[in-house]
């Protein structure tokens, strides 16, 4: 009996205050009606909607329907149970949804009964029609049923405790949402007159899925926070708590609602600031232990925001076990919302959540990897010209690719250009190159070449033995050649050496002279003469 089990869950929720025996009794009674209940949810759904929509205070009507039904069907054991619950819960605070239902219901029963008629007509279909009205909104999954069965074993405790297990599937989340939605408007009614929550109700009945419920929750939360701040009542706090708990789940399941909730949370912060001092809110907040910790740590004002962010940003706190399972189920809904959420934090997390099927270490490692990559991309930004304004991996990579390709092409072109140099000038080239080495060394160290370049040359050699080692074989042929070339032409080009940084300029001057000197076939002979000259000079 699917619905029967659902009813059991409902009952258990209502029995939070310890009316377990009644709950069990009622559950058994529910089971009797279970067979008839199966059809009722379906039938009730359409009937609910028009009533809900039509009524200015649809939620009130639903709630009132409970009470009148209870009152009007006293013979029904179930109703008796409900009555008891209502009576008992009307006074004491409640954390559970059922309790919440009961308490406001009791209040509302005094408030309003005009909708009873309409409701009675529908609820008369079933004595147990009360619950199915809630259950009609619930998805009838087998998973949910299992959860309901599991929860039915829970006794008492707060709603948060019952909802504690992390493996809460989406269906359960949906249920909680739906139920919490009930709470919100109920809360509204309890405190102030009927506010028009028909829209909320409409959403609630229409959409079990995420988005609309997020909005509804937001509204509910807003109102709830408002009223809680007004009343500063424990019950309202608990309601808000459960609202927020549901919002947490909503946050986890719906990113759009995340944004709404965070914005609503911000709005609610101001209003719920009065609640902060109570501290009761954080205590019962923990849907997961991590969330509880965080809520305890954080101020109450942060909790709405945290609640909104909890589902999305659980992983950031390092406890990924819970969040991954939740996010796993909610990623489908979260995907669309994640793109909508502009803050890169949320998007970042949702991307991670998508792959968060892995264990903690995986997501951690991936996060680290991403950070490394982004860090290095920043370096590349500085290196590659024209990348400073660019953000985003794809464009950056494109720029980098273009730059590397252009550099490689330049190398090719230059090598081709060098290849076209007349081979006869090879020795000149080598000489020039070798000279460049000397120049580049001498440039920074000695601004001007003294005429005693030979003298200066050897210190250079000595000072840089490493280079000499490599340079000697290169310049073995050319050392004298260079000395010869440089020596006589040093003075005219001294000016060139005053710009050590502009190697190319100095080069060109020198090279020009040198090449002019040595251009032609007379090079070897000149070199020989130069060598002799040098030798003679020495």
């Amino acid at each position: 009996m699917d619905v029967g089990e659902k009813d059991k869950y409902e009952l258990e929720k209502r029995n939070d205050n310890g009316i377990n025996y009644q709950g069990s009794g009622m559950s058994s009674a529910w089971q009797f009606g279970g067979g008839s209940l199966t059809s009722t949810p379906v039938s009730l759904v359409p009937s609910d909607n028009p009533l809900v929509i039509g009524s200015a205070s649809g939620s009130a009507s639903i709630v009132d329907s409970f009470c009148p039904n209870l009152w009007e069907h006293p013979a029904n054991s179930q109703n008796l149970g409900f009555c008891d619950i209502n009576v008992q819960n009307g006074v004491s605070s409640s954390n559970a949804i059922g309790i919440a239902k009961g308490s406001p219901a009791s209040m509302r029963s005094s408030i309003d009964r005009p909708f009873d008629m309409g409701w009675n007509a529908t609820s008369s279909m079933l004595p147990a029609g009360i619950l199915p009205q809630n259950l009609s909104q619930l998805p009838a999954d087998s998973a949910f049923i299992e959860r309901a069965a599991k929860f039915s074993s829970y006794n008492g405790g707060s709603f948060s405790d019952m909802v504690n297990p992390f493996g809460i599937p989406e269906s359960m989340a949906v249920y909680n949402r739906g139920v919490s939605l009930m709470q919100g408007p109920q809360d509204v009614f309890a405190i102030s007159g009927m506010k028009s929550v028909s829209g909320v109700e409409y959403h609630k009945t229409k959409l079990i899925a995420t988005e609309a419920s997020g909005d509804a929750c937001l509204q509910a939360e807003n109102r709830a926070t408002q009223e809680s701040s007004l009343k500063n009542d424990r019950r309202s706090e608990s309601l808000v708590r459960s609202n927020e708990e549901a919002n947490q789940r909503n946050g986890g399941s719906c990113n759009e609602s995340n944004e709404a909730e965070s914005s609503g949370g911000v709005g609610g912060q101001d209003e719920s600031s009065a609640m902060d001092g109570t501290g009761g809110e954080p205590s019962a907040k923990g849907v997961s232990s991590k969330k509880r910790k965080r809520s305890i740590q954080g101020a109450g004002s942060q909790s709405p925001v945290e609640a909104a962010e909890d589902g999305a940003e659980n992983q950031q706190n390092g406890d990924r076990n819970q969040s991954t399972t939740m996010n796993k189920t909610t990623t489908k809904h979260g995907k669309q919302g994640s793109q909508a959420s502009d803050p890169p934090k949320e998007e970042y997390i949702h991307v991670r959540a998508r792959r968060g099927q892995a264990t903690n270490s995986h997501s951690l490692a991936e996060r680290v990897r991403r950070e490394k990559i982004s860090e290095r991309m920043k370096f590349l930004q500085d290196l590659v010209p024209g990348c400073s304004k660019v953000t985003g991996k794809a464009v950056m990579l494109d720029e980098i690719i273009n730059y590397v390709q252009s550099l490689q092409r330049q190398v090719e072109f230059l090598s081709m250009k060098l290849a076209t140099v007349n081979p006869r000038l090879d020795c000149n080239i080598e000489g020039l190159l070798a000279k460049d080495i000397i120049q580049s060394r001498a440039g920074p160290s000695t601004l001007g070449f003294s005429p005693d370049l030979s003298v200066g040359y050897s210190p250079l050699h000595l000072s840089q033995p490493g280079l000499v080692h490599g340079g000697l074989p290169v310049m073995g042929n050319n050392a004298d050649f260079m000395r010869r070339t440089l020596g006589p032409h040093l003075t005219p080009v001294t000016g060139g050496f005053k710009e050590p940084n502009q190697l190319s300029n100095a080069w060109e001057d020198e090279l020009h002279n040198v090449v002019q000197m040595n251009y032609g076939t007379a090079a070897p002979s000149d070199s020989q003469e130069a060598l002799n000259h040098q030798a003679i000079r020495k």
């Binding site: 490394k372 290095r376 590349l380 794809a394 590397v404 190398v411 080495i437 580049s440």
Partner: protein, 188 residues
């Protein structure tokens, strides 16, 4: 460029060494051959300037020494360098990694296709754009991997590091070659 001066000098020295060691004296080389030799010696000089600290340099040298025609050239340029045994090992590792990488690539492409189908089918515009951007990034990473020597076997982080180093080396190479070329041609 002051910070790159030492690198420039190092490169230049090695390049000249390589050029000398090559059969440059043979005047009957075609221009293309000469260009190839010049480029090769420049690349090897650049790579050896790194002393095997970077992957791209090692990969470049190993790639160059793989070809039979260039092998002796490389050997000449490198001379009695001890890099060659390391080169061989990297080649073997590269081969084994290549096989595994190919399989990974095939698998990943399947996954990508599957994911994209899902995305496009089920998601609104924004999810599609993200998948598109991811696709773009992946594509460009592939291109970059082909550009950087030995990049196919690197993961993204390494790839970006190697790109950084490779870009600096290329810059130095281009600067030196340009100055040499301009010097050579300024005479005429």
């Amino acid at each position: 460029m002051c910070p790159h001066t030492s690198l420039k000098q190092q490169f230049l020295k090695k390049w000249i060494m390589g050029l000398q060691r090559c059969s440059f004296s043979k005047k009957n080389m075609s221009i293309l051959e000469r260009k190839k030799t010049i480029k090769l010696s420049a690349d090897i000089a650049m790579a050896s300037a790194r002393n095997g600290t970077t992957r791209w340099s090692r990969a470049l040298i190993s790639n160059a020494s793989k070809d039979g025609s260039d092998n002796r050239l490389v050997q000449q340029i490198l001379g009695p360098d001890s890099n060659t045994p390391a080169v061989a090992t990297t080649t073997n590792k590269a081969r084994t990694r290549r096989a595994s990488v190919c399989k990974k690539i095939v698998k990943r492409s399947h996954q990508i296709r599957r994911r994209r189908r899902k995305c496009v089918a089920a998601a609104p515009v924004k999810a599609v754009t993200s998948s598109i951007s991811k696709h773009l990034v992946r594509k460009r990473t592939q291109v970059l991997k082909t550009l950087i020597p030995g990049g196919e076997f690197m993961d993204e982080i390494c790839l970006i590091e190697e790109t950084l180093d490779y870009i600096t080396s290329l810059r130095v190479q281009v600067d030196v070659m340009r100055s040499v070329a301009s010097a050579c041609f300024s005479q005429s």
